[in-house]
Amino acid sequence: MSADIDLINLTIRFGDFVAVRDVSFKIAGGEFFSILGPSGCGKTTILRTISGFLPPTSGAVRIGGRDMAGVGPNKRPTALIFQNLALFPLMSVADNIAYGLRVRGVGARERRAKADDLLKLVALPGIGDKKVAELSGGQKQRVAIARALAVEPQVLLLDEPLSALDLRLRQLMRAELRAIQKRVGVTFVYITHDQGEALTMSDRVAVMNHGVVEQIGDGPTIYDRPATPFVAAFVGENNGVAGRVTRIADGFADIETPMGLLKGRDGAGLAVGEAATLFVRPERLRPAPEGFAARVESTAFEGHLTHVSLIAGDGHALTMSLGRDVSAQDLTPGATVNVGFSADDAVVLRQAAP
């Protein structure tokens, strides 16, 4: 069972502070949907509103077509996984998982059977009698997921649940979470500030900033076709070069910058004369004889990539990331190199109001 979620003109205020400003979007049933943004962007606020802990100032939340106004968190078809997991330390693992069933009046034998089934689902069979304190970080994670799934929610809400784990476990749990979601088919709404998590796991990602949704799309769309300068800069590494539009033709924009005339896709329906910023990813920059000149500041070797810090034009800092197929041998600090990129790989966006 899974339900779709419909947020309609959602606004949430805390006193004078607007945490979420007129946000509307739909999450399809069975979708793995991430809300990505820096801390304080309003993503957790939206999650708490969907789960029912925080009433919206205005607007509506519909889950499975039903308006949730006045429905408490204990009555909603949602289950929330907290950032610190909030497992009950005084209960055993099985009691934790079956707690939602216990308050629904399910008998002890049936509860235990369900808890054991769920422990198998999250690949932790036979640990039902352990105490929570005896579990490792990753195990706690899985128990929290099992506890949330035990009440058979139609929507699972996850508030940065991986942030407390170390890097290696985090990457393992990403795949695990995705696999669990595929198996149970429940709608997942996943809150994170980690773009890697959002891009690897999600069917779609909403990027938020200052209480507003900047863009919604699947991973490649968000990464390759950012709709706003914020998305371009926040998701992945990016080089931004500010300038003024001089020509628009065939969906491409020419932009006059301190590094000369640069060309990229018109990502915002620009007009000639507008202030704009061209974004090009470090891995799209290449040494090219016809490109603009830049001085090599330093290089950093990271295995599959070598990151080259460049100073171009009027002191503008850029990063160029080269794969093993391009030789970086003559890029010693102090050397001058000509750098270019394909216009297809760059996007020109309207300058955000400063």
Partner: protein
Amino acid sequence: MNHTIDFILLGPPAIALVFWLASMIERRRSGSAEAGFFARNGGAISAFLLIAVGFWALALIVWPQLYMVEYSFHPKLPPSARFGPKDYYTLANYRYFLFGSPDDTSHWNDTHLHAFWTTIGVSVIITILNFAVCYPLAYFMAQVARPGTVRRLMLLLIIPYWLNEILRAFAFRVLFGTGGVLNAALIGAGLIHEPIDFIGDDVALYAGLTYAYVLIMMFPLYNALESLDRNQIEAARDLGAPWWRIHLDVVLPHAKPGIASGATLVFMLCAGALAAPLVLGGPKTLWFTPIVYDRFFQAFNWPQGAAYALVLLAACMAFVTLIMRLFKVSLSEIAR
């Protein structure tokens, strides 16, 4: 009495010496480079700590209590005859508590036993009442209220304790007396026609004792509840628990050590209270502590007083043990 002075003067240094020797032996035996108690704190401070704590624990707590225990097994004698040829060990004082006579065991000592059980029973009720009053308030302060509100509430709770205990008890008498404020208000409002005898019905006693120990219950309870992660409450709610189940399954189990700590403190203070039961108790209610007091200063029978005091102490210790069993907490958890 010379023995006493010797004991006080020589006891603590002897303890310090024993500890010092023990630490030396320990260091020799383990052979590790880890610094012992004396090496960590320096000789002077270590000696001071051991002597001060030793003096406090032994001379001010253990020794007087042991003296009382010993005293309770002696007959009533003039001081000059103590430890003399007429002195002997006897259970007469305990027999008197049970049977109202040093040697006749055919009748129970109804007055004293009744007072004893009344004291224990009422103290249990007061403890439960206190918990019932404090729990909602402590929960509100620890989990719901904003910091400013908590500070104001704390102040409102503490200020009444600046008043003297006896003054507070008499204030309650004024409040609850037949011609008191409460009766006047109830009659004025037309709710009753005859004044209610709040003092004779022990309402004033219950209210006064509950009020007197609110803070004693409040602080351990508030501390325990304050350390509960809010997410735990929200997680239970999110999983479908109604409010009362959240308290039963999550909040109360977490607060258990605080409840046990508050309950034992309130019970002991209540059972040992002297002024409030005297001032607020009805004519039918005889508290046990005034009886103990009378043994010492009216009957001038110190051994008997010591025996009565020890009976009360034993009851309190039994209660603490019972509470610890009931709540499945250890002594160290209560003391936290």
